[in-house]
Amino acid sequence: MSQIRIVRIHNELLGTYGDQGNAEVLEFRAKFHGITANIIDVSYNDDLPTNGDIYLLGGAEDAAQLLSLEALQRGANLETLHFAIERGAVILAVCAGFQIIGNRFVANGQEVDGLGLLDVISIPGDKRLVGDIKTTSTVLGFELTGFENHMGRTILGPTAQAFGKVITGHGNGDSKYDGAVNGNIFGTYMHGPILARNPEFADLLLTRATGRKYAQITDPLALKYATWRRKVI
């Protein structure tokens, strides 16, 4: 595959915390592997493209999160996502986006059903969790860094696996684990954007999306940046 389609979902709603950069980093890393990436921006009124290889969701404020959920439940959008998962597409959902793809969450004091793509539920905690976060990921085998800023307490069901074990920070609210993963579906509370601070994770998503192994990228600045964040947090 020399072309991939990166679908950036509802950036006008889920773009309050720089997570839109995840798409740019994927596109940038893809170039090193000789892959041409197309970023497809899908807004609230649009239908999701059925042929995406990577679907991205970012962080949002409560009202925006509810609007995004409503749009994703509209028409054939949810079916599109289920079909995408079946054909091996990747989903990366951050913060509010992570809650949206779970089973249930609370926003603006309202408890709602999520998309049910990850077996998690999220409820608001009593304190906002704000600060640098570092985890070690069993799935990836390396450390991840980012920044968290949320009220969520996320509880994993039996079919979801924790994405990272917390070294510094709070993650899902228990200060033990961050995010959840099931196959190619990833959820996390890490902003940064996560793929900018952890470029190896971007490479893994590209591998998962295309089913191909790629040679390691030589990008000294990316490495220097990632290594420095891992050292200081």
Partner: protein, 373 residues
Amino acid sequence: MRLKLSILIAKLAALLSKKFLRRSGETIAGRVLLALYPKAITELAKGKKIICVSGTNGKTSTTKALVTIISKLGSVATSPSGSNLERGVAAALMNNSEFAVLEVDELHLSRVIEEAKPKVVLLLNLTRDQLHRMHEVKRVADRWAKSASTAPDTLFVGDIDDPFVALALNSAAQAERISFGGRKHQDGAVCPSCGKYLKWVRNNFKCSCGLSNANPDQSFEAGSAAYRNATMANIVGKFLGAKPIAIDEKSLERSVDQVYAGVKANIRLTKNPASWSEALTSVTGENAVLIVNSREVDGIDTSWLWDISFAKLSGKRVVVCGERALDIAYRLHVEGIEAEITSSFTEAIAKFDAGSDVHVLAAYTAFYELVNS
């Protein structure tokens, strides 16, 4: 009597701080005063005509412009160092004056309105900024709207092209709604009033709940943030009986010219996506130094750098420095701009030959260090 004594002690503290610590002394004076006399703001505001200025960007320069405008009418107290929390407000009010023009932090505006009972509040804009502290734009907007609804004697003047300002003005008993012909807002996808997807037609919004920038009390041509803020400062001045000042955009930008070993630097404050985007439009030359820090007032995280397009810098010589030089360097790298990374501003500016012009876009803490050194 106790208030007078508290002021005296506060002033003494300021004097000591100035003499021995070489600080402005205003923050410490306000701190001491509020500790000794918690109701100081309420007491000192009595008998003064108070004007508050708040918003994400442009508070300091607009406050300065308003002081110039109002000073033709009588004595004006203000806090010139941009100390905009309660302590800065208290310090500014310590001196006798007819008027007080106060720059007030967005999150602290409610309390200042409640205590100082201002005659006029000028709301400039509200966008994402220091989210580790503000948490959400909507949270700040809700506070503004709530305090506007509980201050019936205060006139709220603001730019309703910003949906969050429009919401606050809709909640006020007295409002002067200004429009500059509409403008896209980066955080304006959701109606801050009802939570629906906000309907935008080009640069104008109109929600089914009624929130819109249509039918302003006064409308003006579109222009830079500095021009908009000066225009609104003149409107506030006019309300109080003052003649308008000529709008000099250059003097209203938070920018300072300095020369470093022959290198002519124009230093501009950049602290969030909105102020960066505004500042980037002013980069006309070939050289730029970008300084990114992450102390409390800068915002302790840098994720928001990815909400800015730096395409304007493409093809220019870009040097970066600051505590988060690597963050900005990598963000530029992914946008196809290769910056030179340096470890200090001194090293960064020394990269340029004497006689060259350099745009310096500086984080809040860096800006203050450079301007005050």
